[in-house]
């Protein structure tokens, strides 16, 4: 698992995001949450989107499905060559849950407590497939079995509160996968779970993309998760992608100072965990794009960093937004 095969290397682009900017109406004018994100996913590929909370990674992911209340997106989001930003409300709804599935961080609160798992799965099917209740039920049971819920029939009739956290997240994944979407967006899917369950869920996601060829956009703040299953990683800081690379490359040879700080925060084998807060200062959205957003916290920042925002420079499989990239050790 630590060395996934680059199965998607030659696959066509599934999702392309270009210069995505997301604004929120705030108390004192508009707030910029995402400031020019570029990202590409190929079919069957798992891409990690990594960053601290507030970095804009979740907003980016949810903007794909236009699920951020009150937000206004600009730029370009295309799924299978089809622009999503200009899509009508009905067309967007048709896409949600069908071509794009979504899994959220907290399986306890993300399932409706008032309905059984089966009920919620059947609803998800029937929103997009003209199936009878019987057929929908059969599909739901299949998916529940697929996500490793051995006692699918019991889970089907259970209410969310009657299941463990891991089972709920599996049910959640089964629901997101019910229409076999081309893209699965998983927003911190393991954060709320115990360590053992985390590994199992990640394993499950990896298996599902192999079985269904579903691309997965994995939102996480934890580089360890990325290292486990992602083909590629994009690191976000203060609303934009600062570094992008195949995950092995990125972890072994980070070029952005922020990426390196993140890697250093991965818990070591001995359990000595140096957390992200070891980076001095806190991430701030920059209202002016006239500087590198990371500069105030960066040990190597220069006058230039504070005067001009570095562009995203792509070279081969890697992209980088930094005036002073770290030396790549051979």
């Amino acid at each position: 698992m630590s060395c996934p095969a680059p199965i998607a290397a030659l696959a066509p682009d599934l999702l392309t995001i270009r210069n995505l900017r997301v604004h929120f109406p705030g108390q004192t004018g508009e707030v910029l949450a995402v400031d020019g994100v570029d990202l590409t996913l190929r079919a069957g590929e798992i891409v990690g989107l990594v960053g601290e909370s507030g970095s804009g990674k979740s907003v980016t992911a949810m903007s794909i499905l236009r699920l951020v209340p009150g937000a206004r997106s600009s730029g370009q989001i295309a799924l299978e060559g089809r622009d999503l930003i200009g899509l009508g409300a009905a067309e967007m709804r048709a896409l949600r849950g069908d071509r794009i599935g979504m899994v959220f961080q907290n399986p306890m609160t993300s399932l409706n407590p008032a309905y059984t798992i089966g009920n919620q799965l059947i609803e998800a099917v029937r929103l997009h497939r003209p199936l009878g209740r019987g057929a929908a039920r059969k599909l739901a049971l299949t998916r529940l079995a697929e996500v490793g819920l051995t006692d699918a029939a019991r889970v089907f009739t259970s209410y969310p509160h009657e299941l463990s956290g891991g089972m709920r997240q599996r049910a959640m994944i089964a629901m997101a996968m019910i229409c076999a979407p081309a893209l699965l967006i998983a927003d911190e899917p393991t954060t709320a779970l115990g360590v053992t369950t985390q590994a199992q869920i990640l394993h499950l996601l990896d298996r599902l993309r192999r079985e269904h060829g579903t691309a997965i956009l994995l939102i996480t703040h934890d580089l360890a998760v990325v290292a486990a299953i992602c083909d590629r990683v994009a690191v976000m800081y203060a609303g934009s992608v600062v570094e992008e690379a195949p995950s092995d490359d990125l972890i072994d040879r980070p070029r952005h100072p922020y990426t390196r700080a993140l890697i250093e925060a991965i818990p070591s084998e001995t359990g000595d965990r140096r957390r992200l807060y070891s980076i001095p200062g806190a991430a701030l959205m920059r209202p002016d794009a006239q500087a590198c957003a990371f500069a105030p916290r960066c040990a190597t920042a220069s006058e230039r960093c504070r005067a001009a925002r570095p562009p995203l420079i792509t070279s081969g499989a890697r992209g980088l937004r930094c005036w002073h990239p770290l030396e790549v050790s051979p």
Binding site: L67, F104, E162, M175
Partner: protein, 308 residues
């Protein structure tokens, strides 16, 4: 669930006994002699004394209570001191009126309250939200008495659409039920608004949207069901408050229901009638509470005991 209901019903008996003891004690502690009150202000002492003996009021209070309880155990509530008719009959004649009145008021409360709450919550801070919020604030703060008379002035006096009161037809119940139900509807609207606004920000609502559900389904199926849980609590509480309000409304609209009967019986120190009315109101109250608790189970599976 049925065992649960029976258990709850059995728990009710000591409560009712407590209610009886309390009411019996309170009515007898109140100054005022029923015999004199019934005989009227111009009655002489001899007239009052005769009546007192006839009503059994010359017996010690303890003996009166024991007599009352033993009658009650046989399903008898005694005779009203004031009318000399069986209290059971008097209550049976009045109960349907109060039930129709409060039932209609509850229906008005639920339909208007839910609708207004949902409309407000769907577009918070919109013009219609502010309008409805303003209306419900007015609805909560307007005194029942004033509202009732205003409705009579408009609909009975000026428009002549509805009678000023009475129970001869269902039409007579419309104005009183509206009077009684509007304030409660306003309360419910405010609760539904805040409850829905809270729930609309819940994760599972986002999940429902992510599944591709239409907004109507998101609100109607996913948000409403959960928002109804606090609403049911309020509806249960309001049912009791409506019973209290029925006393005023029954007087304004000349509906001779349980509420007015209770007030009159207290004014006359008509002990058996007061006891009977309180008992009936207590039973209604307890029943409503029971129904409220049971409906939690229907709405919220987490409250269900013994579910698979």
């Amino acid at each position: 669930m049925i065992g649960n209901v029976i258990g709850r019903l059995l728990q009710v008996l000591p409560t009712l006994f407590g209610v009886l003891v309390l009411v019996f004690a309170m009515t007898h502690v109140l100054p005022g002699d029923p015999a004199r009150l019934i005989a009227g202000p111009e009655a002489t002492d001899a007239e009052v004394a005769g009546l007192r003996a006839d009503l059994g009021l010359d017996q010690p209070v303890g003996a009166q209570f024991i007599t009352y309880l033993s009658n009650l155990s046989r399903g008898e509530m005694g005779r009203s001191l004031h009318s000399n008719r069986p209290v059971v009959d008097e209550l049976a004649a009045r109960l349907p009126r109060t039930l129709i009145l409060t039932g209609l008021a509850l229906a008005i409360m639920i339909s208007l309250g839910l609708a207004a709450g949902i409309i407000s919550a769907i577009k918070p801070d919109s013009l219609r939200d502010h309008l409805l919020t303003g209306l419900s604030l007015t609805g909560i703060s307007v005194p029942l008495f004033w509202l009732g008379l205003m409705l009579v002035l408009v609909f009975s006096y000026h428009l002549r659409w509805l009678p000023t009161g009475g129970t001869s037809s269902l039409r007579g119940y419309i104005l009183p039920a509206v009077t009684l139900g509007l304030g409660a509807a306003a309360m419910l609207a405010r609760l539904m608004r805040s409850s829905l606004l809270d729930i609309i920000h819940q994760d599972y609502i986002r999940t429902a949207r992510a599944k591709g559900a239409r907004e109507a389904v998101v609100i109607g199926r996913h948000a409403l069901r959960n928002a109804l849980i606090p609403a049911v609590t309020l509806i249960g509480l309001e049912a009791g408050i409506l019973l209290g309000g029925a006393v005023i409304v029954e007087t304004i609209f000349s509906i001779n229901g349980i509420g007015r009967y209770l007030v009159q019986s207290i004014q006359y120190r008509d002990y058996p009638a007061t006891q009977g009315a309180v008992l009936v109101i207590a039973v209604i109250f307890i029943t409503v509470n029971l129904l409220t608790d049971l409906s939690y189970g229907l709405l919220d599976p987490r409250q269900r005991r013994g579910a698979a």
